[in-house]
């Protein structure tokens, strides 16, 4: 029998606040974490957890990751370290960009003060694998530690990377997730130039007037464990990673493939891997960036994969109230999905007032929607898609 992967801890730092509870309760209350056209983690205070010395050796994206990981590990109850031999505990964290703020600051120092003034901390601060490195040091993880980078699907693929090695038997547990802190003026200019950013500074996925996404920062981390090991130690199980699907568009470096065929394949693969059908899905947390192209391609893909059932499944986008967290998005949205299933309350797409009929029949969540209880817990699906043509679908079961 296949090894099963359960979630025993979650942690998040998002524009909706510090903590996975703030993420869920803020979202269902219709709160908007975006101010001034950017989703910043205004409530985040690194010094609440990190010493001055620790904090100055981490870029902001890494601080966000470590604080979210600390929340997840505390919830998992890893009081005396990981529940398995350290070498059998992996750490995979997604980031699209890494320590961009550090890179910008040190490049400025290099240009104004010369090469001799570039900080010796530059490399350890900006490297994409800084987050998994610090998490592994902090929590004593001696198994495989890596960063995973597939643009806006990085966080989701990092979850899958952890689930995969637990299933295969290479690992017994993993800390996985995603982190990003790329909301600088330069990042804004980059994404604006690519045409993906909302020129009006609003993000309203699925709306007729949608015109792009808004940048956000944050981190989402999950503690995954092999089900029997979690059960043996009496862990409180929050949910289960039932299955996943990952495909590539092999089409264009930024635009999604318009037929949605490859993205639909990812959804189908995830259902088959999970052993469920479309009618088992209680909630869909869409990638839902709010660009013209994404929402059209994503809804087409979901319809191809789920058929007529799609029209009756509540669907919403977390990005409407956090902005687009890039490499953290997939992980934060997996947590938002799990929370929606645990609390049986689907969060709304913030600001959605005129659903785009061209996207076909969809059950949009406009205000928090109660999900009917089901035996064994509600099942949800979360999509992530990244520049480069990455399509990632994860199916999650939440335990009440």
């Amino acid at each position: 029998m296949r090894r099963r992967v359960v979630v025993t801890g979650i942690g998040a730092v998002t524009p909706l606040g510090v903590g996975a509870e703030a993420l869920h309760h803020g979202a269902v209350a219709g709160k908007n974490g975006v101010t001034g056209g950017i989703g910043r983690c205004a409530d985040f205070d690194a010094s609440a957890l990190l010493s001055r010395r620790e904090a100055r050796r981490m870029d902001r994206f890494c601080q966000l990751a470590v604080v979210a990981a600390d929340e997840a590990v505390r919830q998992a109850g890893w009081v005396d370290g990981p529940p398995a031999p350290a070498q059998r505990v992996h750490c995979i964290i997604g980031t699209a960009i890494g320590g961009l703020g550090t890179l910008e600051a040190q490049l400025n120092t290099f240009r104004t003060e010369g090469p001799g003034s570039v900080s010796p901390l530059t490399v350890p601060l900006l490297m994409a694998n800084a987050a998994p490195a610090h998490v592994s040091m902090r929590f004593g993880l001696a198994g495989e530690t890596a960063a995973l980078s597939t643009a806006c699907s990085s966080g989701a693929q990092a979850i899958i990377a952890g689930a995969r090695v637990i299933r295969s038997g290479e690992a017994d547990a993993a800390i996985v997730g995603g982190a990003e802190a790329a909301t600088t003026d330069f990042t804004t200019a980059m994404f604006a130039s690519s045409g993906a950013l909302s020129p009006t500074g609003t993000s309203v996925p699925f709306d007729r007037t949608r015109d792009g996404f808004i940048l956000g920062e944050g981190a989402g981390m999950l503690v995954l464990e092999e089900a029997d090991i979690a059960q043996a130690r009496g862990a409180h199980v929050l949910g289960e990673i039932l299955g996943y699907g990952v495909t590539s568009d092999h089409h264009h470096v930024t635009a999604p493939e318009p037929s949605g065929a490859a993205a639909a394949s990812a959804v189908r693969a995830a259902l088959a891997d999970s052993g469920i059908t479309a009618s088992d899905i209680a909630y869909i947390n869409a990638h839902g960036t709010g660009t013209r192209l994404n929402d059209a391609a994503e809804s087409t893909a979901l319809r191809l994969a789920l058929g007529e059932a799609l029209a009756g499944i509540p669907i919403s986008s977390t990005k409407s109230c956090t902005g687009h967290l890039l490499g953290a998005a997939g992980a934060v949205e997996a947590i938002a999905t799990l929370q929606a299933l645990r609390y049986r309350s689907a969060p709304p797409t913030h600001g959605l007032s005129e659903p785009d009929e061209a996207l076909g029949p969809l059950t949009h969540v406009r205000t928090a929607l109660a999900l009917a209880p089901t035996d064994g817990g509600c099942i949800g699906l979360t999509n992530s898609m990244g520049f480069g043509g990455h399509n990632v679908t994860i199916v999650i079961r939440g335990r009440a």
Partner: protein, 87 residues
């Protein structure tokens, strides 16, 4: 401002170095002249930062290699004093 325009002496250098080590995150009351860099938890990256800040803020040209053999705060100060030309 050129390096020559800085005014510094043993006391001001001492004070500056201690402040820098504190700003790196070392507890103030653990810092003493005979404390070793190891004991204070300072690694090679910290030493490079220290040498950069001495060069930039005091105008005393100290490279990381100059501090390679320094084991204690006293040793660090001796190197800086020497580079500054203090007799």
């Amino acid at each position: 401002m050129s390096a020559d325009s800085y005014v510094h002496d043993r006391n001001s250098v001492h004070e500056f170095v201690i402040n820098q080590i504190e700003s790196i995150g070392v507890e103030a009351d653990s810092i003493s002249l005979d404390a070793t860099l190891d004991t204070l938890g300072l690694d090679s990256l910290d030493v490079v930062e220290l040498s950069q800040s001495v060069t930039k803020n005091l105008g005393i040209n100290v490279g990381p290699k100059d501090l390679a053999d320094a084991e204690t705060i006293s040793d660090v100060l001796a190197v800086i004093h020497k580079r500054a030309g203090f007799v």
